[in-house]
């Protein structure tokens, strides 16, 4: 609870009377207090706004894709235009939604509070990272409006550097700028977790969301610079006509090595934070401590490390050596193990827990099912003989959408709903939220499960036209996409509604453990009136030992 003492960060804040609490939202007003804020909570809200916007931009491209694919002919648009649609869908979703989503919104908001700190280590750098995100987004959107890019989000050379007449450079530079935002956020998280934990908060007393965010940040720091230099080289090649990655002297496969060195770990950047959210949700809504805390924590680190050793599995048919392919394939099997350990541990956490079915838990359970399917199909792809047949088909598209959408977006929505009362001081309407979660689950599976079948039976990806034997599956997929889209619009509606009409939430509406639930909803500007001291492990719930096991 906040006291009536004036906050030095907001000197012009109105002095609260006995009834009104000062929190980070009402401590000051006006656009300057938001656009020049260094409060990590406000920056998280700023990110929420721009990232939601970009999500709908990426979603719009998805709608266009599914409209075109409802019929076998390329009848809605020219194939070149269709190429731009899936390229821009990928770029916006990957770089501007999935990579920054959970870290920049939930991570920014929660990490200092979860470790008992007043802010991140570098608050001004945090604000700078938001401005860099916005700058990158504007750059990329401008490139898209000025004609778009048609290379695929993977920018493969020599097409991207020599042949494509589209706006490769502005969009590549936009992604590059986004990389800087990503790096600054990760740097902030790493230093904060190392140097600003509250007294008594040793590493193995940290919530698992922190472990996941920390592991994600390591991946960002080590991988993002490589995509940065790769995109710089692509831009240089295009501008000066220097054949860095184009035949005869330049090697396109070298581009792919450098590109995937980052872009494979990037998928772990996208999933690890969601896994961190799931650890929080599963324990909270089974009122039970996590099964195998150390295993889950170490698995996050193992995923971060091993994730860097498998990139060649994107290049099985590109022309790399058979021996390198074998090594990458073997390592790709190994990297699945820590993810599987996590799924087992989450499931074991549910066992004999006191499970309740609130919306965040629905998303968490959906995650368990859909991420498992996505992960298993990843193992299918890691087998070279199978990959040779299904690579560049819709099987791959379904695989990564099961993980990115069935996994990450479910985790994201679960987290947003779980921490919504903390961030806003309002509860969302539970009935609407449950309905939306179910609609999302149904819509998602209808959209993407047929794609496994389509891809396995031969439908290639990145084609505007396809053989008519795939039409039924595609119509199902497009129908599912409209349901899924509706499911995503619902939270957008009722969450905004709840800001004005939602029930006021107390400090701990879910009745769960965690430092963030021991301060008011919304928290005061400095998070805690006194730095808390931590004396026990997370997720300690009273356990009733049964008389007979």
């Amino acid at each position: 609870m906040s006291t009536g003492a004036p906050d030095p960060q907001y000197p012009s804040a109105p002095q609260p009377d006995a009834q009104q609490e000062v929190d980070y939202l009402n401590a000051s007003f006006g656009w300057k207090s938001w656009l020049l804020t260094t409060d990590h909570k406000r920056i998280a809200i700023l990110y929420l706004i721009v990232i939601t916007l970009m999500f709908f931009v990426g979603g719009a491209f998805a709608v266009i894709i599914r409209l075109e694919l409802a019929t076998p002919q390329a009848d809605l648009m020219e194939p070149d235009t269709y190429n731009k649609m899936f390229t821009m869908h990928g770029i916006v979703m990957v770089f501007f939604f999935l990579i920054p989503g959970i870290p920049s919104i939930l991570g920014n908001f929660l990490i200092p509070i979860m470790i008992g700190a007043k802010d991140l280590a570098f608050p001004k750098l945090n604000l700078l990272s938001w401005y860099i995100y916005v700058f990158g987004a504007i750059f990329t959107i401008w490139g898209m409006l000025a004609g778009g890019v048609d290379t695929g989000w993977t920018f493969y050379t020599p097409y991207s550097t020599r042949s494509s007449h589209s706006n490769v450079i502005p969009v590549a530079v936009g992604a590059l700028i986004l990389g800087f935002s990503s790096i600054l956020t990760a740097l902030n998280f790493i230093v904060t977790v190392h140097r600003m934990r509250a007294p008594g908060l040793t590493w193995f007393r940290l919530p698992l969301f922190i472990w996941s965010s920390y592991a994600t940040s390591l991946v960002v720091m080590l991988g993002t610079p490589v995509i940065a230099i790769t995109l710089v080289l692509v831009a240089v090649e295009r501008v000066f006509d220097w054949p860095i990655f184009s035949p005869p002297e330049g090697d396109p496969i070298l581009f792919q090595h450098l590109f995937w060195f980052y872009s494979h770990p990037a998928v772990y950047i996208m999933i690890l934070p969601a896994m961190g959210v799931i650890s929080e949700l599963v324990t909270a809504f089974s009122r039970k401590t996590i099964f195998g805390y150390h295993f889950v924590a170490f698995s996050s680190m193992a995923i971060a490390v091993f994730g860097f050793l498998v990139w060649g599995h994107h290049m099985f048919v590109a022309g790399q050596s058979v021996y390198a392919a074998l090594i990458f394939s073997a390592l790709s099997y190994i990297v699945a193990i820590p993810s599987a350990i996590k799924v087992f541990n989450w499931t074991a956490t549910l066992y004999k827990g006191s499970v309740s079915w609130q919306t965040p838990m629905l998303y968490a359970l959906g995650f368990l099912a859909l991420f498992s399917i996505g992960g298993l199909t990843g193992l299918v792809l890691a087998a070279i003989p199978i990959d040779v047949h299904v690579t560049d088909t819709y099987f791959v598209v379904a695989h990564f959408h099961y993980i990115m959408v069935g996994g990450t977006i479910m985790g994201y929505l679960g987290g947003i709903h779980y921490w919504w009362p903390k961030m806003t001081g309002r509860m969302y309407p539970e009935g609407w939220a449950k309905a939306a979660a179910l609609i999302v689950f149904v819509g998602f599976n209808l959209t993407f499960f047929p794609q496994f079948i389509a891809g396995y039976t031969g439908m290639p990806r990145r084609y505007a036209a396809y053989d008519e034997r795939f039409q039924v599956l595609n119509v199902m997929s497009s129908a599912g996409a409209s349901i899924l889209g509706f499911g995503y619009l619902l939270p957008f509606g009722y969450l905004i509604w709840s800001l004005k009409y939602g029930r006021h939430a107390g400090p701990n509406p879910w009745g769960v453990t965690g430092l963030e639930w021991q301060t008011s909803s919304p928290p005061p500007p400095h998070n805690f009136d006194e730095t808390p001291t931590v004396t026990e492990e997370p997720y300690v719930y009273a356990v009733e030992e049964p008389e007979y096991v």
């Binding site: 902030n188 720091m221 080590l222 993002t224 230099i229 080289l233 054949p243 090697d251």
Partner: protein
Amino acid sequence: MSEHAGPLAHHFEDIEQQKDAAALGMWAFLATEVLFFGGALTAYSIYRGLYTKGFAVGSSFQIVPLGAINTAVLLTSSLTMALAVHAAAVGNRAALVRNLALTLLLGAAFLGIKVYEYHHDYVEGLVPGAWFHPTEEVRDRIRPFEQQHGTVDFRQVELYFIFYFVLTGLHALHMIIGMGVLTIQLVLVRRGWFGPEYPTPIELTGLYWHFVDIVWIFLFPLLYLLRHAGGGH
């Protein structure tokens, strides 16, 4: 950077925590720079392995004494930077100003020599792309090499120069940014900032500057000194 109310920022418990966090932050950032240059160096190393002859010839066109002098200039600037950091820590303001200014001066000298080298390459027709037309005199220079190793494909030499300009260009860009920060800090020092109670920003600049020096420590031999194509070729 210092605040109006003293150097301790509100979200840190004490100045030690703040200094530790700042240092860790800069080291972490430098780790990203290792991977940034490292990506370009990985590509360079692959091509050097594939096109050993062409790259050896490319290296042979560099003016080694100039590169060596530039290396010495940058190493000296690292010395003056370290001395500046030390001066800030012990509160010797005159030495701090002097050493920051010397570091800046040496950095400028490095860039000046680089500009001369770039111009020299342009005159010899070795700038890649539209400007790549090696002069007859340049081609004659490598006749002894070609007698021993066979004809050289000048497209490989062009690829070498692409990497030469990209690597040294990125390095120069980092130097310019560093010199910008040094200039700002030089101005602020004369206004009384960065005393011994909070010399950390100078230390952070020092870490960055030394890193840029380390990059050159590797670029110099990789670009200038590998003029050999081996016996097997």
